[in-house]
Amino acid sequence: MPRSRFSRLALAGVTALALGLSGAALAQQAATLLNVSYDPTREFYREYNNAFAAHWVAEKGQRVNVRMSHGGSGSQARSVIDGLDADVVTLALAYDVDALHDRAQLIPEDWQTRLPQNSSPYTSTIVLLVRAGNPKNIRDWDDLVRKDVQVITPNPKTSGGARWNYLAAWGYALEKFGDEDKAYEFVRDIFANVPVLDPAARGATNTFVQRRIGDVFIAWENEAFLAVEQLGQGQYEIVVPSVSILAEPPVSVVDRNVDRKGTRELAQAYLEFLYTDEAQRLAGKHYYRPSNPEILAEFAERFPEVNLHTVDEWFGGWRNAQETHFNDGGVFDRILAEIH
């Protein structure tokens, strides 16, 4: 009796395991696409996937089911490198997509030239979110080094978004002082004002919004808009700094995976559709800056003009920026060691 109970359990276990295996295999046969993305794009892609599916049915008469995976940009890239079979990646920074080539040869080295605008169909920038009425009177990056201001940002070591924050501040100081040493001191003084260093961007948002810690939150423009809209209208204001960085979240087909799965055509079309007017407007609706200047102009009220620079201009590309600033023993480590 006990033996049969055990064998029944064992059987159930084996069956379930087999189901899990075959389930994964089955899902491949339908027209599905796996888009591995980062956290703040959820709302945008939910709507975009429907738009694309409608387009694809109209065009090819085939139903498409786009599966989504969201997480921190870096850990999402690592999952793809380690075997998550993404058809396309839509990540926060080019460095993470570069890693797909550097560490696993999943894509060719020149991936970024395959689609228009550096493969970034939508862009964003880094802005400052302050509490209603701007009680600390924060106008620009300079105010972040003031002793009476507490700054919230996630940790650049673990968050892709935070790396944009850091580089934007550095770039501003570079423009203003024209001197790397001064830039170092400037960024150091900002991080000396950080009371809580969350590992991920949305955690930092919650620290600022829910725990009410800090006077200013350095954030993606789209995240700042979302916080204002979803978490408390009238409780926050967006301050656009005089100079900031052009954040280019890139997209790419994962060649090795689409060739194995035979989904290249679909994946390619999925990404190209991002550049159509319809998709560009969707991006604008979800607070991303459309890369098409005409569509961007339609949203002129929402997106004020900022003096934007790219990572290439200021830092000579992401690989360089990562190596100099964020890798172990880099500038950011020096800053941490100096202030703590």
Binding site: F6, G13, A27, R42, R67, H70, D82, G83
Partner: protein
Amino acid sequence: MSTIASHIHGTRAAAPTWRRATEEPAWVRRLLIGIALGFLSLFLVLPLTVVLYGAFEQGLQVWYAAITEPDAQAAIRLTLLVVAIVVPINLVFGVMAAWAIAKFEFRGKSVLITLIDLPFAISPVVVGLIFVILLGSQGWLGPWLAEHDLRVIFAVPGIIIVIAFGTMPFVARELIPLMQQQGKEEEESSLTLGANGWQTFWRVTLPNIKWGVIYGVILCNARAMGEFGAVAVVSGRIRGETNTMPLHIEVLYNEYLFTAAFAVSSLLAGLAIVTIAVKSLVDWRDERQRHQAAA
């Protein structure tokens, strides 16, 4: 009571001995209960209240909508599937390991016990890393698995393996101290009286270790449902497919859907109700058996 008693007996010595010798004075009892409740309030009841408050803040309908939404349903189904596989395996393992360790003396025993404990000591973060290094496509077995088109990591089997790893010790660890404390005299006399090993286990050992088994299974089950860190690394986080309940909760929280996040969390808190039910059932059966034996 005691004043009447001392009056009747007319001696002072009789007064304080009305309580049983194996009980503490009432003030000690109250103090201990007070300390225990104070500690549990701060660390258990209040955090739970936060979760439940968050879950039901916007009313039952919102709560119900959050747990019946398709992605939530998929996450619940996946979690139940994982638990249905992992808990029985670890139960069998736990009983066997505890039997070997508690009933026999052999060399290397403390090393073995320590190895059983090890999954507790390994950070979930490291557990994820271990299996990525072993099974990932850059890892040691990854290329072989890919060649045979076996999906382990970033699919359901990977989640099962990682959770089995993390919850392996619970039943064993619950039973080992209990069985060690009980010794082996009862089993030895049962065997001497002619029962075979299987009967001895079933009739003598199992009733003795029943509570240990129950606690072990409850803990193992709880942990299997709640495991997050390691699963997050190997799941791939595909919406509606490889998100377990904790991962789904994180997704909701990151979408600023706090009420929904707490609503799904409240289901995990509902496990406590299952715990009460199971323990009451066993208590009730014990009671009935005792009555039958007495009659």
